[in-house]
C-alpha cells in the first residue's frame, strides 16, 4: 500500500547518503520542500547538485536515509517508485527528446503508455502544453529540426503533459546558445508563477534571485547553506558560500 500523509511536504529528505563506489557523493542530506515552493540549487562542479535532484525520481538510488515525495516514501519499494516517477517531471541539460518521434509524439507517449489516456485526449493535452511553452506550430517536426531553446521548451511541455506535482530542472539552460537562454527561463518563470513546485539546478543567478523562494548551496556532497535569495546573495553565512559567490560574480 502507498500511504500518504495529508498536507505532506512536496519533498522530504532525511539523512540521505549516496555513494558511487567508494566516493561519498551525498552526505547526510536533510531537506524539506513545501508545496508550491521554488528552490534553486547551486554550488561548484562535482558538489552533488545533479545527484541530489536525481535521487528524487530514483535515477540515482540512495544507500542511506529516507526520501518522501508528496507524502509517499520513495525509499519504500518499487510500487512507490513507479507512482512517484509519474508525479515528478524532469528536464535535463541535454533535452533528451526522443529523436525518432515528432514533437507531438514526444509529448503524448508518457500520458498514453503510463496513464493509458486515449489518443485524442493525449493529443489535446500535448497541444495545450505546447501552446503554453509557445511552440504550438512545431508540433509535427522532429526534435533535430528545432533550435536548442525550442527543444528544451518541448522537453518542458513533455514533462508537463504528465501533470507532475514537482518539476526538477538540471541546468536546463547550460547547453543553450546565449540568445536562447531567455526563452527557456521565461517558460520556467511562467511555470513558477502558476504555483508549480520546482527544484532547479542552475547557474542563472538572476533567475535564482527573482524566482527562488530559497536557494540551496552545496559543496562536496553537503548542503552548506539554505537561505532566501536576499540573504543568500547579500549576507551569506558561510565562508564557502561567500567564496563561491565571489567566483561566479567575476
Amino acid at each position: 500500500m502507498t500511504e500518504r500523509t495529508s498536507g505532506a511536504a512536496a519533498v522530504r529528505m532525511e539523512k540521505v547518503g549516496k555513494w558511487f563506489g567508494d566516493f561519498h557523493a551525498l552526505k547526510g542530506i536533510d531537506l524539506e520542500v513545501a508545496n508550491g515552493e521554488r528552490i534553486v540549487i547551486c554550488g561548484p562542479s562535482g558538489s552533488g547538485k545533479s545527484t541530489l535532484i536525481r535521487t528524487l525520481n530514483q535515477l540515482e538510488p540512495v544507500q542511506e536515509g529516507r526520501i518522501f515525495v508528496d507524502g509517499m516514501e520513495l525509499t519504500g519499494g518499487d510500487r512507490n517508485v513507479d507512482a512517484i516517477r509519474r508525479e515528478v517531471g524532469m528536464v535535463f541539460q541535454s533535452f533528451n527528446l526522443f529523436p525518432h518521434m515528432t514533437v507531438l509524439e514526444n509529448c503524448m507517449i508518457a500520458p498514453r503508455k503510463v496513464k493509458k489516456i486515449d489518443k485524442a485526449e493525449a493529443e489535446k493535452t500535448a497541444r495545450h502544453f505546447l501552446e503554453r511553452v509557445r511552440i504550438p506550430e512545431q508540433a509535427d517536426k522532429y526534435p533535430a529540426q528545432l533550435s536548442g531553446g525550442q527543444q528544451q521548451r518541448v522537453a518542458i511541455a513533455r514533462a508537463l503533459c504528465m501533470n507532475p506535482k514537482l518539476m526538477l530542472f538540471d541546468e536546463p539552460t547550460s547547453a543553450l546558445d546565449p540568445e536562447m537562454v531567455k526563452e527557456v527561463l521565461d517558460t520556467m518563470i511562467d511555470l513558477a508563477q502558476e504555483g508549480m513546485t520546482m527544484l532547479c539546478v542552475t547557474h542563472e543567478m538572476s533567475f535564482a534571485r527573482s524566482v527562488a523562494d530559497r536557494i540551496i548551496f552545496m559543496d562536496r556532497g553537503e548542503i552548506v547553506e539554505v537561505a532566501p535569495p536576499d540573504r543568500f546573495f547579500d549576507a551569506p553565512e558561510h565562508e564557502r558560500t561567500r567564496n563561491f559567490l565571489g567566483q561566479i560574480s567575476h
Binding site: R86, L97, K113
Partner: protein
C-alpha cells in the same frame, strides 16, 4: 557413367536455391527472436540473465559453425531421437544466429544514449514501454546495416549444412559434380547463385546505413 552437364543439372541446382533460402529464412527468423532475448538479457541489470547470455554468445561465437552443426545433428541422434538434416541445420543455425544477432543488437541498444533511458524513466514509462517505444526503435536504426551484413554471412553459412547431408545449393552442386565431373562449371554456377542472393543484400545494407545516418543527423 559420367555424363555431360545439361539443363536438368542446371535446374537441379536452381531448385536447390529454395532450400538455401528456406534454411536462411528459418535461421534468421529464429535468430531474430533468440537474438532479441539474448540482447535484452545482456543489457539487463540482472547479473544472472546477463551472465547466461554472455556465456551463450561466447560459446557460439567461439566455436566453428560446423562443430555446432555436428553437435546438434549427431548429438540429438545419440539420444535415439532421429532428426532430419533440415531440422538439425535449422536448430544449429538458429542458435548460431541468436548469438550473433544478440551481440549485434546488444551493441546497438548500448549505443542509444543514456539520456534516452533517463528521460523515459523520468516520464514514468515501464520497462516494456521504455524498450518497445524508446530504446529498441533507435537501436534498430543503428543495427540495420550490421544485421543485413550478418544475414549475408548466414546465407553463405547455410552451405555447411551440406556436410550433414541436407540438399541445399552446395550439396546439390556436389551431387551434380559427382555425376558430371565438371567442378568448374558446377561450383562456378553455385557461386554465382550465392552471389545473386547476397549481392543485393550487401547493397541494401549500405544504402540503409546511409539513409539512417542521414536520418539521425537530421
Amino acid at each position: 557413367m559420367i555424363r555431360e552437364f545439361g539443363t536438368s543439372d542446371f535446374l537441379f541446382i536452381l531448385f536447390a536455391v529454395r532450400w538455401t533460402l528456406l534454411l536462411s529464412a528459418i535461421a534468421f527468423a529464429g535468430g531474430a527472436v533468440g537474438g532479441l532475448v539474448i540482447a535484452l538479457a545482456r543489457v539487463s541489470q540482472n547479473r544472472i540473465f546477463s551472465g547466461l547470455a554472455l556465456g551463450f554468445i561466447r560459446v557460439f561465437q567461439g566455436t566453428p559453425l560446423l562443430m555446432q552443426l555436428f553437435l546438434v545433428f549427431f548429438g540429438i541422434n545419440i539420444f535415439g531421437i532421429s532428426v532430419t538434416p533440415l531440422l538439425a541445420a535449422a536448430i544449429a543455425l538458429t542458435l548460431h544466429a541468436s548469438a550473433f544477432l544478440g551481440e549485434i543488437w546488444r551493441g546497438s541498444i548500448q549505443a542509444v544514449p543514456g539520456g534516452q533511458h533517463e528521460a523515459s524513466w523520468a516520464l514514468g514509462l515501464g520497462y516494456l514501454d521504455r524498450m518497445k517505444s524508446i530504446i529498441l526503435p533507435q537501436a534498430a536504426r543503428i543495427s540495420v546495416a550490421p544485421t543485413v551484413g550478418f544475414l549475408v554471412q548466414l546465407i553463405k553459412g547455410t552451405s555447411l549444412a551440406s556436410i550433414i547431408g541436407f540438399v541445399e545449393m552446395t550439396r546439390a552442386g556436389q551431387i551434380i559434380n559427382n555425376a558430371t565431373f565438371e567442378p568448374f562449371t558446377v561450383f562456378g554456377l553455385v557461386a554465382v547463385f550465392y552471389f545473386i542472393l547476397c549481392w543485393p543484400l550487401s547493397i541494401a545494407a549500405r544504402q540503409l546505413e546511409r539513409r539512417f545516418s542521414r536520418a539521425t543527423a537530421r
